[in-house]
């Protein structure tokens, strides 16, 4: 897996040489490369919360943040590759990310028995009576 990550990173870096026609074009190319690296580091940071999160809500939140970072990454790759035009996929990504978050929230709030020791004195909670709660 590390090999594929490194290969894709190398292909992004080697895709186009730094556009050194003018000083501001160089600045944009270097900034976009730096931003790609930082966004990927942010995704690994969110991965820590995804693995660690003591509750399911933490994990759903981490997935939501990773999907938004992915939108940023797609925009950066659009700028980097120049001719290819990914922005229609950005809309689809944001819709699917939102739908996934809504689905996780409705699953978490389903009527069920909560785990003992989660800050409530009793382990049982009974069905959710306010049906229009969300």
């Amino acid at each position: 897996m590390m090999v594929t990550i490194l290969a894709s990173a190398a292909s992004v870096v080697a895709a186009a040489p730094l556009n050194d026609s003018t000083w501001h074009a160089r600045l944009v190319s270097v900034t976009v490369l730096f931003a790609i690296v930082v966004i990927i580091a942010n995704m690994f940071i969110c991965l820590y919360r995804l693995l660690r999160g003591p509750h399911l809500v933490d994990r759903a939140l981490a997935v939501d943040v990773i999907s938004v970072q992915l939108i940023g990454l797609v925009i950066l790759l659009t700028i980097r590759y120049g001719t290819v035009w990914f922005t229609d996929g950005v809309m689809v990504l944001s819709l699917i990310g939102f739908a996934g978050t809504v689905a996780m929230a409705q699953y978490i709030a389903r009527p069920h028995v909560t785990r003992a020791g989660h800050g409530e004195p009793t382990a049982e909670r009974g069905p959710v009576t306010d049906t229009d709660s969300i």
Partner: protein, 126 residues
């Protein structure tokens, strides 16, 4: 495009990109460092939404400068995505927070007030 306009567009791209990148990093770090589920919700929505808006605006400037498509199409698409992000991110996090509270996520021990808890205790659904 005259080179002066190109320089201005490039500088605007870099400015908005660094601005958006900073807030994305703040949001991602906030998810790791905050002590509570509800605090992480703050970090995940506010920071990340502002960051993605900044990066999308930077992408719009760069794409207009590269002349990949007509500026009208680029601006319309980016504006739609920004509008959707402003609506979808907070709504999704609010739903997650409500679901977490219903499921019994414990608040941080230095929490000052929990109004939903008080309302549910007053209604008798707790």
């Amino acid at each position: 495009m005259p080179p002066a306009i190109q320089m201005i567009m490039d500088l605007l791209t870099v400015g908005f990109l660094l601005f958006g990148l900073f807030f994305m990093t703040v949001g991602a770090l906030g998810i790791v460092r905050m002590p509570d589920v509800y605090h992480r919700m703050h970090a995940a929505t506010k920071g990340v939404t502002l960051g993605i808006v900044g990066m999308l605006v930077a992408g719009a400037f760069a794409l207009i400068m590269q002349e990949s498509a007509s500026p009208f199409r680029i601006v319309t698409l980016i504006a739609l995505v920004i509008l959707f992000q402003f609506v979808a991110n907070p709504v999704g996090a609010h739903m997650l927070a409500k679901a977490g509270h219903l499921d019994g996520c414990p608040p941080w021990d230095k929490t000052l007030s929990d109004e939903l808890e008080e309302d549910r205790a007053a209604c008798g659904t707790r």
